[in-house]
Point group: D2
Chain length 357, copies 4
């Protein structure tokens, strides 16, 4: 009942519009005595930040985070952590022409329908700029999870071009601006996106995020299943239209014999699974295998091609979006998806602690 908040025991609340003075997030429920400074958060924001290559929006934002509360002498105190990022490069004038028109595929029309008012500058609250706050919250979540849980994501599809999984290399992901886990795809995608950008077009993408080191037993059946919470988290990211866990939609075509991840006693005496169709979740509870989630992002509809639409008066008109935008919003969604998964997992961890005693 607080639609700008996410999580239960670890709960964050975001605020701010694309072209207001600042955006921010209040993180509640962080355990005390964790070392935390801006330096723990900034690298994740830098990964998401726009303007880093020609393949993302040319808006220049420092995205410098400030901690306003919740720490004392470098440690968290258990009180709410308020994080703020000032907006610096807003160029509101870019958006003046869309003031009275609804961009197709955007939230312009629905915000107007719901609220009878909208801050049209840069998408206002519906801007992907809000995701910076998720990334900041996710950085805090990672500190709580600690080193035993590793969360990392990659782009696995851009437009129609799917990565070759046989040459997956996590080390490669941070070496290219398109978060590709495969050097060949990285080069191909960059060239492809350069053309998309020049043509004033956009394409969609699929992002995959893994969490390793999650023990068996996290997640709460029935309506707060670990995968339900993950699905909700990912679907709440701007432009996401689909979420799947493990084999996902492909599971529909499997037989029960193929889909069941068989279990063996491992060398260390612990259970080992022979496959991971489940994506690390069974019955809403983690299995101890990697959590594997994929989500699809639609192409941004902020493009140079004129599209038919209506204006605020309901009359027919055309629109061309001239603002600074990403040819593929999916790229910058990688750190956002990682952050959301971190937040879901830390909540599940805290809840499991509570009932284990």
């Amino acid at each position: 009942m607080a639609s700008n908040s996410f999580g239960s025991l670890f709960r964050f609340t975001t605020w701010g519009e694309s072209h207001g003075p600042a955006i921010g997030v209040v993180v509640d429920g962080c355990p005390a005595r964790l070392p935390l400074s801006e330096a723990d958060i900034q690298p994740f924001l830098d990964k998401r930040k726009p303007g880093q290559s020609s393949l993302t929006t040319q808006r220049q934002e420092a995205d410098q985070v400030k901690i306003l509360s919740g720490t004392f002498e470098g440690l968290t105190t258990g009180t709410p952590i308020s994080l703020m990022i000032e907006n610096t490069d807003q160029r509101s004038h870019d958006y003046s022409e869309i003031k009275d028109k609804f961009r197709p595929g955007h939230a312009d029309y629905t915000y107007q329908a719901k609220y009878g008012i909208r801050d049209y500058r840069g998408g206002g609250r519906s801007s992907a700029r809000e995701t910076a706050c998720r990334v900041a919250a996710g950085a805090v979540a990672r500190k709580i999870l600690g080193d035993s849980v590793t969360i990392r994501g990659a782009v696995v599809q851009i437009g129609e071009h799917i990565v070759d999984r046989s040459e997956w290399n996590w080390g490669e992901v941070n070496r290219n601006p398109v978060f590709s886990p495969n050097a060949k795809a990285a080069t191909f995608w960059q060239n492809y996106l350069e053309e998309i950008r020049k043509g004033g077009l956009s394409v969609g993408a699929v992002v995959e995020v893994h969490a390793s080191g999650v023990p068996a037993g996290w997640g709460d059946p029935v309506y707060e299943k670990l995968d339900s919470e993950i699905a909700r988290a990912m679907m709440s990211i701007n432009a996401v239209k689909g979420v799947e866990i493990g084999s996902g939609f492909a599971a529909a075509a499997l037989t029960g014999a193929a889909a069941a991840d068989e279990i063996r006693k491992g060398h260390d005496g612990k259970p080992t699974f022979l496959s991971n169709h489940s994506g690390g979740v069974l019955g809403g509870i983690s299995t101890g295998q990697d959590i594997v989630v994929r989500f699809a992002l639609k192409p941004t509809s902020s493009i140079l091609t004129p599209r038919q639409t209506i204006d605020k008066g309901g009359e027919n008109t055309d629109i061309v979006t001239k603002g600074r935008h990403d040819p593929c919003v999916g790229i910058r969604a990688v750190p956002v998806g990682e952050a959301m998964l971190a937040c879901v997992l830390v909540d599940a961890m805290l809840r499991q602690r509570a009932i284990q005693g």
Copy 2:
């Protein structure tokens, strides 16, 4: 923080195990003075109920619902509506051999890991039997939504076999036992599933649910987006591994020009969209178009093929599941998906009322 509850203003809580004396649901937040009797709920339970054809589990359950509270002289009173369904055909003996083994692909292992105990009889709380309670809650939700919103679902894929959408007929869905919107697919799927069943196998499925008549403006950005809540709702259904809205994963391969649903002034002066890639949701808020959601269900892993697993002591063993099960659990998920969508929508409706004043 109540993992057996769903929703906010319209909120239901389910309880009960597959082989306990009964299962039930408490529906809180239903507005007063709605006509409600068992006869409003029973038809939906009958649609989901097992044992209706050879293609679903042979467990025979009357699934007779009783209203224990919340109505007076045939009308709801605004107080919680307690609904109970007694379990009658439990045959606990069928499950005795799996008492000490974990069925691969089931929640056996994860419940044990989480709780250190599990009611192994028929899957206990993780049984799909729980979904009867969702269907009952959904029937109440439909009463609140009224006639202006129509919710209906169909199976669109069984195993590898996808329905031909060019011959979609909603009227057909309730005329065949596999909820096919196409008579040809209905026949094909029935023959196919009959073979699967005889072979002791199982396959997955994809279900699609539509809601028509939802006005623009329902749903709450940012973390309780209408599509986030739908994703969470569907992913919480047993065996679901993926959820998508509108074009879903296919949106990744679209260009921005193709993906943007253009808008025109309609004959009645109201906005008309030229396509529905968005699936009726933009920025987490309904557009007024049909809400379109699809979800994929994995095949049940209760099959006659022996699978490798471990026992409670961690030692290697094999397992064959002899209980009564569905060759395709996806079929009976149609009324469940409809119910969950109804519950999400009624909550969004009530919340929109609150802020509209």
Copy 3:
């Protein structure tokens, strides 16, 4: 947002009307592997149950609780525990004359104003019969708290007659039907109430509940302070009009020097407080001292004295309540207050576990 539910990690939901077929409670969030059977719950219900002496309503209810889910082979499983109590002695005809009139001091008028309908039989949902469900939930909470926390309550005032605290004896409380911690007051109060009853009158009461053995550190500032949650819990009990912690309202008249509970190093090296004006809570967090809460209950307005009121049509009329009622509803509130405190504490305990790791 679920007004028939209470708690967060330990959360219960109640349902049922005074004159429906049954009442019940679903307890969610109970940790697994606790021994639990009806025998753990029944004694607390028996303490609250009506008809035990001439000083409480003559309604005869067995108040026999049934566990419908959530346990397996005598242990909790971590799944929701559904508890049901059938209504057996309803005598609906007693209430027929108040069908169209509002009893002053009752919820008749407000339920009608809110919902436009009310189940007038025995007060429907607003009946104190609902508190049996709280007592049942509290019994589960006590099992989780274990032996280290002791919760016990007593009546400290009936009408104008306040107990003499200098002769407080917890052992006495369960030896008299008025829950007096002092034998002399017990006798006096019984005679007094007998007269009240004969006169068809009623009086109010003050109940005090203590929790011993609560360690320092439970409770969550700022808006879910331990004392906030206690205040909310007690104020939600039927007829309660005031709640205070420690010195309570008397603290207003104290000086800061007197009100501060000084601290000394105890013989065991642990902190010892020289007084307990705080009632065991400072800054919303437990101090390790006894939690001390008092709450005041108004007299029931179901009395034989005719009172002026209006009917459903808004016209002036008189009313005499002839149903079976308690001369002092405060008496039976003792087990209810204990139960609510147990529920608040177990929730705080689970939440503290979560952040302590």
Copy 4:
């Protein structure tokens, strides 16, 4: 499960420490298109602000509020409203000597016990400075409630000195620095407090808040009763030890005949109550009469009298609190209590709208 948040449909989250760079509040759920600027909020902050007379702490804070999000061209947009107040006069050095000692009657010890760390400067998060954020949220709540609901509070007791209710004058309250509804008491209390202050002492107080114009039907039984939510709200205010509604604790001594507020048909045909023992709430739902709530505040324990305590190492020591403090914290609690009541009421209003359709 977010202990720094309050409310459901109208929900605010506060953050910040007494001596951090700023404090703030994020208000979620405010309906759109309400005129809102800093000028709507500042007057309420000014009422609470310290340093206005010799009777409150001499800390000098401008308490200037800034709106960082949620409005556009002077109107609310339905998105979260972020309000920030910078801390300007912190004087951290004042607190250096209490770094390693626990002030009796303060939250020092319990924060340390709970979190293992505390920001000792000015009480950190447990400082009454946090209440400025409540007042800011309350100002937004008042805008939503509109002119039909009037909320106003007064001090009714300071130390042992209770106001004479026969000369109650709401107009007087804002004409004296002690929020007295009676000019005589105002003079008496000021002289009394001046002496208390000079002696380095402190006393407690009782505050009473009324809400007029609340229609019948607000509030949600059973566990979110209007009075439960009010009790929780008031008890969450720093130093509050007791809360009562209507006749409150005095109701215990009443007979049922006296306590029942009789009802008559009014001149306008609407129900009129002949008394208001209920304080405007029956069965957790508003009656349409004035909501009347009182709460007691203990004296601050920051006093010049040396008190016995222990240090962080657990050893015995003494303490004198030399910081700047209020001789009676109850005075500044008036605008805080008003704000909390406004927030509870607006939430109830929105919830009632939702179910009324």
